[in-house]
Symmetry: C2
Subunit: 355 residues, 2 copies
């Protein structure tokens, strides 16, 4: 399947198929003076042979630590050093092979190396269907997630679903949250379908190629309207204000991004007076085995200190995306008390399900 992403500043294809890696051959052919692969170390360990069977070009590989750890200043600087030492030029291209973290780090390296070179996203996780599209790149700061970065679009996204076959269950959970977010932002029937599944094993039976295409389409439509997140694009942050705070408190990389977003979605639904839907989703996420226990040992004040640093905030006010109706997101100002109330209610809902 091929989708086209089109914004004011860039237009590029998304290839989505089992075996899509072969598309790279025509994409890179004769266009670049050197090719670099930035690969997640776990992905590279499992899939280097598969990649080499499909890739008919020379390249140099830079192996990145798995997960959020790669989105640090240290790895950022190491990656730039690697490119300089290997004479990468403005005509070089970097292929980002891995989950969202590899894509985010690689994208920011590509955005800033010599003030911008080309890169291609090769997402290997469900979660990365979200981050690979739309041009957001970045790294984490100890004081906040994705606080440093750039808007920099890839030349193409090559999504080979072959890689999904070896995903650990925590990655399936993580990716499913972003998919559910895209459903919540767009289509009540789709939400209902997704919430029909009873167990994680049922989730695995989804037609992932189709689901990912739907998720990417929702994102593409929003990014097309508002590339630089001045208006509608903020809606894609549904569940992320609280979710990012969880990641900050637990420590980046110590919980999967989408596992934190799953809980953030509950808080968003509660802030939207969607208590019934919040309850249904809490029940499911407990069934699917999303981590929740740690939350009872997390003081709200710690979460709040991260929420206060959210990029959407202005003039010291907390801005949350809420969802009065499925498919009708809004940006609203909420008080600290309202967030705390939602947090307490989330804990109560979890307790109910796991009692």
């Amino acid at each position: 399947m091929e989708l086209i992403i089109s914004t004011d500043s860039a237009t590029y294809p998304v290839f989505l198929a089992n075996g899509a890696t072969s598309q790279l051959n025509s994409l890179v052919s004769d266009r670049y003076d050197s090719i670099f692969v930035f690969a997640d170390e776990t992905v590279w360990h499992h899939h280097a042979d598969y990649f080499n069977q499909h890739a008919a070009f020379d390249y140099q590989v830079f192996v990145l630590p798995s997960g959020e750890e790669s989105k640090s200043f240290i790895v950022y600087e190491q990656a730039l050093t690697f490119l300089l030492e290997n004479q990468a030029s403005r005509k070089s291209v970097i292929l980002a092979m891995g989950g969202g973290a590899v894509g985010d780090l690689t994208g920011f390296v590509a955005a800033s190396y010599m003030r911008g070179i080309s890169f291609i996203q090769l997402p290997t996780t469900i979660l990365a269907h979200d981050s690979a599209v739309g041009g957001k790149t970045g790294i984490n700061h100890p004081l906040g997630k994705n606080m440093v970065g750039a808007f920099h679009h890839p030349q193409a996204v090559v999504f080979d679903t072959n890689y999904l076959l070896t995903l650990p269950t925590s990655e399936v959970r993580s990716g499913f949250s972003e998919l559910l977010k895209h459903a919540l932002l767009s289509d009540a029937n789709w939400v209902e379908e997704l919430l029909l599944k009873d167990s994680l094993d049922d989730l695995l039976l989804l037609n992932w190629e189709l689901e990912l295409a739907k998720g990417i389409s929702v994102k593409a439509t929003i990014v097309q309207k508002d590339e630089f997140e001045r208006h509608e694009r903020k809606f894609l942050n549904l569940g992320h204000t609280y979710g990012h705070a969880i990641e900050g408190v637990v420590g980046f990389g110590r919980i999967k991004h989408g596992e934190a977003i799953a809980l953030g979605l509950v808080v968003s639904l509660l802030l939207s007076n969607q208590r019934k839907l919040a309850k249904v989703w809490t029940k499911k996420l407990c069934n699917y085995g999303y981590p929740t226990e740690f939350l009872f040992a997390t003081p709200f004040s710690q979460l709040l200190s991260y929420i206060k640093k959210d990029k959407k905030n202005q003039h010291g006010e907390l801005h949350f995306v809420v969802l009065p109706e499925i498919g009708q997101p809004e940006l609203t100002i909420v008080t600290e008390q309202e967030v705390e109330k939602a947090h307490t209610l989330l804990l109560a809902l979890i307790k109910e399900e796991t009692a």
Copy 2:
């Protein structure tokens, strides 16, 4: 005087006058939720009082080490930490007060903090008439100058010529090189006028407001045509391939940028078969006291290793800007041997003048 810079992606004013700092009051009024000043420590030491007399708004100041030292990964990260600790938001603005280094570092911080916030350039040196305009920002890597950065335009440039009165002579020399470069790229009569001056004291008598306006206009015209340095903008690199290599070998910040460019311009003229002009300019730069002696202790092989990493290079070939006629720059491929020959000739010309 007010000039307007206009590119495909941004339009902004340049205010150029003694006392221009007052323009800031209307520029920042009610537009931002907080204001940060990133100031060169030497500039701040001398001019904080003057700044406070003109600036009628609250701000927080982050003092940067003087000169190229501030363009390091360490200072970059410290600056981002400072912004996060002080709750800078996407609605904040940073004022970059200092020479080109402060502008470059601050611009990259502004480009990448939360994927881009506003900044305003407050250049305090002659040299910064070049760097403050055009949207190039960046920091240095131990393996090469300006290797990491972004294109990010300021909201405005406020150039208060009051600050020029306390410039050290090395800064006058440094700035004059970029001014001469702008003259070489545009106008033979202007070059002749500039090369009439016999001593550094004569240089100080130039009408700097007018000269800077002319320099900024040349740059603005080129940047307007080619914002992202795909074609014409490369011409602004005249003298910089060799100049940057000097900075790399000597150590960033241990020689003023424009003092290195002065020598780079000679090499460019020699590569352009402009031997007469190269000789005239070498004579002047020796008269003006530009540092040259260190060059005799610098092995060409060291310079070459930096030249090979120049951002303009492609497919392993060295690309230089040459000037077959004043006002008619071209990009050309040169061999290592040709560069070495020009380097040797430069040494001979200096020896002649200083014998």
